[in-house]
């Protein structure tokens, strides 16, 4: 295992210490339980937007705490959902009196931990709504299973809901924005290499030099199929087809195209990927009016990409363009 770390069990704590040193203007870091909040929290009369999940997906979520996006983020151990006490304390810390939105990725652990936290918060008279993001078309949606995983749309929901909350919209309205993203966003990812969880010390899976995994999860969960490595253009087609056909998007739709690095894939390859994704979207008549390109929702040092397509309406475009000031996304301020 080749990583810039000290002891595996200290990675998350030391990361948070680094964030605390680096961004005192943006966030405060709370330890035991661990959470990151906006430096000016709680903001009176504003809905608090909170997300959280296992560490190892940076900048998500801690890198998106700040004006116009998240009020708080709860980082768990690497690839492990955080615990209810973290979410409860974060919820209390950002409670400005207008209620709290929990943006939850659809993983059993995240769901259960956030559910317990929401129950505890309600017990303390804090109004909480939860929206579960489940946008990964690599997994078949089904009532009889855990359903689809939550991936790329989560960050887009965090941006749009954060902007809506900043406008002092009500909890229901902010949650409605989140539900819109949940309904209008679809993602799919692939891996060229595995990643190595620090406390495990060896790759989560073996991927031979000539193979790739299509439909990978952000925790290294095996994908849909393993197959011989193909060209970027062919890979992008394999990711875009299930995304576009799942919703379905129709000609004339305005979309945000989000090309994400799993961590180890550098920007030069993301632009090669973006090029083809943009061309395919355009060929389908979709209008790519906004985009996001970079390592945003990562899987440690895994090489690979995911693509997210989000259908936008006028309000969503305005929310996307609204100022945001976080370590991971920033504009207009």
């Amino acid at each position: 295992m080749k990583k810039l770390i000290n002891k595996p069990e200290n990675v998350v704590r030391e990361e948070l210490e680094g964030i605390a040193y680096a961004h005192p203007d943006l966030v405060k870091v709370h330890f035991d339980p661990n959470f990151v909040v906006r430096s000016d929290a709680p903001v009176k009369g504003k809905v608090g937007v909170i997300s959280g999940g296992g560490s190892g997906h940076e900048p998500m979520h801690g890198g998106f705490v700040g004006i116009g996006m998240l009020d708080a983020a709860c980082p768990g151990a690497v690839f492990t959902s955080p615990t209810p006490d973290q979410m409860l304390e974060a919820t209390k810390a950002v409670n400005g009196g207008a209620g709290i939105l929990h943006i939850v990725k659809n993983y059993t652990g995240d769901i259960m931990n956030f559910e317990m936290a929401a129950d505890l918060a309600r017990g303390q008279n804090i109004e909480v709504e939860s929206v579960v993001i489940d946008d990964d078309v690599a997994v078949k949606d089904s009532l009889y299973t855990a359903g689809r995983r939550g991936v790329g749309s989560t960050v887009l929901a965090e941006k749009l809901c954060g902007a809506a909350a900043e406008q002092k919209r009500s909890l229901k309205e902010v949650a409605d924005v989140c539900r819109k993203v949940k309904d209008a966003g679809r993602s799919m990812g692939m891996a060229l290499t595995s990643c190595t969880v620090p406390h495990v010390g060896k790759p989560t899976f073996d991927l031979p030099e000539d193979q790739m995994e299509i439909g990978i999860g952000i925790h290294g969960e095996p994908g849909r199929t393993r197959m011989p490595l193909k060209s970027a253009d062919e890979i992008v087609e394999m990711l875009m087809e299930p995304i576009i056909s799942d919703l379905p998007y129709k000609s004339g739709d305005q979309v945000l195209l989000f090309v994400n690095s799993m961590g180890g894939t550098p920007l030069i390859e993301l632009y090669v990927t973006y090029r083809k994704a943009h061309e395919i979207a355009t060929k389908h008549g979709l209008k790519v009016v906004r985009n996001l390109i970079g390592p945003i929702i990562t899987s440690l040092e895994m090489a690979g990409v995911s693509i997210t397509l989000l259908k936008l309406d006028g309000d969503m475009i305005k929310l996307w363009d609204a100022p945001v000031k976080t370590a991971g996304l920033r504009w207009g301020i």
Binding site: F79, T83, T108, M112, T204, G217, E221, P222
Partner: protein, 212 residues
Amino acid sequence: MPIQRDDTLTWIKDCAKAVEEKSSYLTELDAAIGDADHGANMDRGFKAVLNKLPEAGDKDIGTIFKTVGMTLLSTVGGAGGPLYGTFFLQAGMKTTGKMELNLADWTEALEAALDGVVMRGKAQPGDKTMVDALIPAVNALKDALQANQPINKALQLSAEAAEKGMEATIPLVARKGRASYLGERSAGHQDPGATSSHLLLKTASLTWKDIS
């Protein structure tokens, strides 16, 4: 003589030891159909429990189990955290005020724990989860109780039932938890949560082997 308060402390400590020993094995099982953290999560949780246990001082068994539950809840994370947290919290509710447990008490506590896990995770038998180890274990306890078996014999039977339930998860296709993303590809692997559940119950039967 029934299970004493101090025996439950010993069980918890033995669980912590067993989880530490089996940590890599549990994580390996989780790597195959999950995300390679079940062992590390449980180990982190039970290490925290060892630190917390002194706080239960000379309190009753219910307090001990609730302390374990709260600690697991706030340190394990993932699916395992809320599930095992609920498991011990529910067992603690049923044993509030008790300084010793007979077989009926233990059976009732475990049944409440199982119900808590099902309520929280909504898994059905055959979904390839820890529930598949816990249900047969609770059923075995009930049978043993009815047959008037001594405690250690009942514990042995429940551990064996859990082991069978655990092994029976191998051919199953997961319908709950992270493994369900794999669909058919989840078949052929033993469920990590069923494995850790069996480990706790087997440890009980070993720790309390002289209690009859």
